[in-house]
Amino acid sequence: GNDSPAASSSGSSTTALSGTVNVFAAASLTGSFTQLGKDFEKAHPGVKVNFNFAGSSALAQQINQGAPADVFASAAPKNMDQVADKNTPTTFVKNTLEIAVPTGNPGKITGLKDFADKNKKIALCAVQVPCGAAADKVFKAVGITPQPDSLEQDVKAALTKVSLGEVDAALVYKTDVLSAKGKVEGIEFPEASTAVNEYPIATLTKAPNADGAKAFVDYVLSDQGKAVLTASGFDSP
């Protein structure tokens, strides 16, 4: 139900908000934030939310080069740290890893140990990107040396390879498995909890619309916001 939050949040708003809110958000938030934006606009008539979805590191670059951003929602704390002019960030969601296999599991993957099998085609994220760093942590924790065929630039690229059956398995986020329902199957594994990825959000000190920025972050952290995010497969912090 997305209609109810509109009433409650309009009640919570003290001053009448106006103008536009520029939200720079990680590409993996595209689906859920687009929805959130619509809801927010409904709750605050007269406010327009503009999204700039791109890779978190590109967004951090843009903000540091003076982009007119009000809010930054990053897919990793690291990229949030790169931004200088920000207010204290808050973690608003978490994401955990899952093994993704093509529908029907043609590679007969059962668990993490198959990632060490040279005969299986495996895709992982590169360690430079958050999902790769998380996977690295997991494998270190369980003491497995994976034998990947490819180190993908981002989690969607890994997912694409699974959904096209190019690889037998990949380590991706739960949200990704959910978004590709029907084309991939998820296999949960207990060690996932050792590498939880946190998404921080923050308003920026040079925000052209500081009030709007704060209201949007509040909305994301509100229950209504959480509901939308968890529907996409994110865990609450």
Partner: protein
């Protein structure tokens, strides 16, 4: 002129009644297949059943309009700046011409995302030149449609420059000499003699340039951001669609392709025959 054209086509038609050399035909067909078969892959993969409903999203048309507009503007910028540059490289006696020519290819080799970063470093609000622009004129390029044009022009210009330079080098310079003896300065000679004679090369360069600009992604998203209606061109929309629904990405790509193929197929034949 039209008559002459007719006779020529007629002649070509009868001529090629003869056999085409297999040694040319075979690789040509393999090449064609290589370029087109992946397209067939996309067509097969496209979600035909739900296609009509997906096409009724206003966002698609907004992004498409923006893409066509920006690519066309970028091509115009490239033509205005690139043709003179090509001419300089081909005809003027520059010291270190070889180096300059190689430097022109820099935006080609630079991974587009890095190109975008470089543009930000120079033209961003905190950039070398961008800071002045902002200070003096209160005007900043990133996150504007003009920024998209700049990013696309930066990435696409080398195509134009190098194609046109190649055409200039293949052209017979004696016609320029003849024009000079008729009292035409370099500019007039360039406009009225050189340019018409290299028209096919310029058209080829412009096509490359336009198509490259239309498909440009990395530099655009880095330099101009991804703001729907303002800087979200089709390739950016495709990128976002890949994040949420890969099927939509395929549909978007096919729309982009269809439009560009229609534009090029209708435009080029006219240009090519009109300019010769």
């Amino acid at each position: 002129m039209s008559l002459r054209q007719d006779t020529r086509t007629g002649s070509v038609r009868r001529r090629t009644g003869g056999q085409l050399p297999l040694v040319l035909l075979l690789p040509a067909l393999v090449g064609l297949a290589f370029l087109l078969v992946p397209l067939i892959g996309l067509l097969i993969k496209a979600p035909w059943s739900t296609l009509p409903s997906r096409l009724f999203s206003a966002d698609i048309w907004q992004a498409l309009r923006l893409s066509l507009l920006c690519a066309t503007l970028a091509t115009t910028v490239c033509l205005l700046l690139g043709i003179p540059l090509a001419w300089l490289l081909a005809r003027a006696s520059l010291p270190g011409r070889g180096l300059i020519r190689a430097l022109v290819t820099v935006p080609l080799v630079l991974p587009p995302v890095v190109g975008g970063v470089a543009l930000l470093l120079v033209l961003g609000r905190r950039g070398l030149i961008g800071e002045r622009l902002d200070l003096w004129f209160g005007f900043s390029l990133p996150f504007t449609t003009a920024g998209v044009v700049v990013a696309e022009a930066f990435v696409a210009m080398p195509f134009l420059v190098i194609s046109v330079e190649g055409a200039l080098r293949a052209a017979d310079p004696r016609y320029e000499e003849a024009a000079a003896t008729l009292g035409a300065g370099r500019w007039l000679t360039f406009r009225r003699v050189t340019l018409p004679s290299i028209a096919p090369g310029v058209v080829a360069g412009a096509v490359l340039c336009w198509a490259r600009a239309l498909g440009e992604f990395g530099a655009t998203i880095t330099f101009a951001g991804n703001l729907p209606g303002r800087t979200t061109t089709m390739p950016l929309a495709v990128y976002l669609a890949l994040e949420t629904d890969p099927d939509v990405a395929v549909v978007l790509s096919l729309v982009l392709l269809l439009v560009s193929v229609v534009v090029l197929a209708s435009l080029r034949e006219r240009w090519i025959s009109g300019l010769r």
